[in-house]
C-alpha cells in the first residue's frame, strides 16, 4: 500500500500505510493501527504520536518535529 500523509491544521499529521515512524532522535516506532496521528506541535508526551496536547498549548508557537514515514 502506498503511504499517504495528511496535515491537519493546528493538529497532527495523519499517516496511512506506514510501517514505522522515525522520531526526532532517530528511533523507529512501529505503527499499530491503520492510520496514525503523528505529533507536529512537538509537545506530545507520547511522541511521535499525537496525544491531543496541541489543544492545550495552542497559544505557544508551534514547534514542528522531524518526521519521516517509511513506506510499507
Amino acid at each position: 500500500m502506498s503511504c499517504q500523509v495528511e496535515i491537519c491544521p493546528d493538529g497532527p499529521a495523519l499517516v496511512r500505510g506506514a510501517d514505522e515512524v522515525i522520531d526526532a532522535a532517530g528511533r523507529a516506532h512501529a505503527t499499530t493501527r491503520p492510520v496514525v496521528a503523528v505529533c507536529l506541535c512537538g509537545r506530545s508526551q507520547r511522541a511521535p504520536w499525537c496525544d491531543g496536547t496541541h489543544k492545550v498549548v495552542t497559544a505557544a508557537a508551534p514547534r514542528p518535529s522531524v518526521v519521516e514515514a517509511r513506506d510499507s
Binding site: 493501527r33 491503520p34 492510520v35 496521528a37 504520536w49 499525537c50 496525544d51 491531543g52 489543544k55
Partner: protein, 336 residues
C-alpha cells in the same frame, strides 16, 4: 440479558407489553423533564436495546412491533425536542461565529461551550477506589457496545465520509483482531477492577443522566434523518477523549488498579487523537460538503454529546463531593 427493572408505572407497563405475545402501545405522557425522568429513560433504553443485543425474555421480532414503535416514537419526540432545546444556544453561537465551511472549527466551538464538570480531574487526583469503580459502572453502558451506535451510519453515508467512518470503525472494532475489540478491552478493564464484565450487568444501577447519554446515541443511530447528528456526536466524543483518558490513566495508576484498567484508557489516548481528526475533518466536514442541510444537525450531535456528558459527569462529581454515590441503590430497593 433480561429486561431491566422498571423504575415507575410507565416503564412497568412498557416492559409488560414487551414480554407479551402481541405488544400493545403504551401511551407516553410527558409530565417531567424527560432527560432526568428515570421512568422514561429506562423504558427508552430497553426499547432501543431491541435493536442491539435484545433480551432473553423478549421475542426478537418485537423490535418491529408497531405498538412498541409507537411508544418509542412518543418518547423520542419529547427526547429530541429536549435535546434540541439543550443545545440550541451553543449551536447558534457556533454557526454565527465561524465560517460555514469550517465544520471542525464549529464543532470545536460547540465543545468549548459546554461546562467541564471536572470529572477527569477528580478521577485523576481525588477519587477513591470505590468512586473510580462507580465511574467504570456508569461508562460500562456505552463502552460494552462501544461504537455500535455509530456503525448504523455506514450504509447511510457515501463517498469520502463513508470511507473515513469505516476506517475509524475498523480501529474501534479491533483492526481485525478479536482481542483488540474496544468493547472487549473495556470488559477486561471491568474485570480488572473486580466488576461484572457482562453486557448489561449494570443497567439497573445507573441513573437517567447516564441512560440519556446512551439513548441520545441510539436516537441518532436509528433514524437516517439524524445521521448528521450521529456523526457530529462521534466527532465530539472523539475530540473530548484523548486528554481525559490521560487523566483516567493517571487516576488508575495512583489508585493502583490492575493493568487492564489503565490499558483501556491508555489505548484511547492515541486512538482517539487519530479518530478526532478523522471524525471532524474526513467525516463531518465532507458530509456537510455533500449535504449542506445537515450542518446544523452535525452541531446538534456534537452539542448533545458534550452537554449530556457534562450532566452525567456533574452528577457523579457532585455526589462524590457530598460523600454520596450517583448510582441508584435506593431506587433499586424501592422498585424491587
Amino acid at each position: 440479558m433480561q429486561l431491566p427493572r422498571p423504575r415507575g408505572p410507565f416503564s412497568a407497563q412498557v416492559f409488560a407489553s414487551m414480554v407479551s405475545p402481541d405488544p400493545a402501545h403504551v401511551a407516553y405522557d410527558a409530565h417531567a423533564d424527560v432527560l432526568s425522568d428515570e421512568d422514561a429513560q429506562i423504558a427508552l433504553w430497553a426499547l432501543y436495546e431491541l435493536s442491539y443485543r435484545g433480551f432473553d425474555d423478549v421475542d426478537a421480532r418485537h423490535e418491529w412491533s408497531p405498538g412498541l414503535l409507537a411508544t418509542r416514537a412518543q418518547l423520542e419526540a419529547a427526547f429530541e425536542q429536549a435535546l434540541r432545546e439543550l443545545t440550541e444556544p451553543a449551536v447558534g453561537r457556533a454557526l454565527d461565529a465561524d465560517r460555514p465551511d469550517r465544520v471542525p472549527a464549529q464543532i470545536a466551538a460547540v465543545i468549548d461551550d459546554a461546562e467541564d464538570a471536572g470529572l477527569a480531574r477528580f478521577l485523576q487526583r481525588e477519587a477513591t477506589e470505590e468512586q473510580y469503580r462507580e465511574f467504570l459502572v456508569h461508562r460500562s453502558i456505552y463502552h460494552l457496545k462501544e461504537s455500535d451506535p455509530h456503525a448504523f451510519a455506514i450504509p447511510r453515508l457515501d463517498g469520502a465520509p463513508k470511507v473515513a467512518l469505516a476506517e475509524l470503525q475498523y480501529d474501534e472494532f479491533g483492526g481485525g483482531r478479536v482481542d483488540r475489540l474496544h468493547s472487549t478491552l473495556f470488559a477486561r478493564a471491568l474485570e480488572g477492577a473486580g466488576l461484572d464484565p457482562t453486557y448489561g450487568a449494570h443497567i439497573d444501577a445507573v441513573p437517567a443522566a447516564t441512560l440519556a447519554v446512551n439513548n441520545a446515541m441510539s436516537l441518532f443511530a436509528l433514524h437516517r434523518r439524524l445521521r448528521g447528528a450521529l456523526m457530529g456526536h462521534l466527532a465530539a466524543f472523539e475530540s473530548t477523549s484523548s486528554l481525559p483518558c490521560r487523566r483516567y490513566v493517571g487516576g488508575a495508576e495512583r489508585l493502583g488498579f490492575d493493568a487492564r484498567v489503565t490499558a483501556y484508557f491508555d489505548e484511547h489516548v492515541e486512538a482517539d487523537a487519530v479518530h478526532e481528526q478523522v471524525a471532524c475533518r474526513s467525516i463531518c466536514q465532507r458530509l456537510v460538503e455533500q449535504h449542506p442541510e445537515l450542518q446544523r444537525d452535525v452541531l446538534l450531535g456534537a452539542g448533545v454529546c458534550v452537554q449530556l456528558d457534562a450532566r452525567a459527569g456533574a452528577l457523579m462529581v457532585d455526589a462524590w463531593r457530598a460523600g454520596d454515590s450517583a448510582l441508584l441503590d435506593t431506587l433499586q430497593q424501592e422498585v424491587a
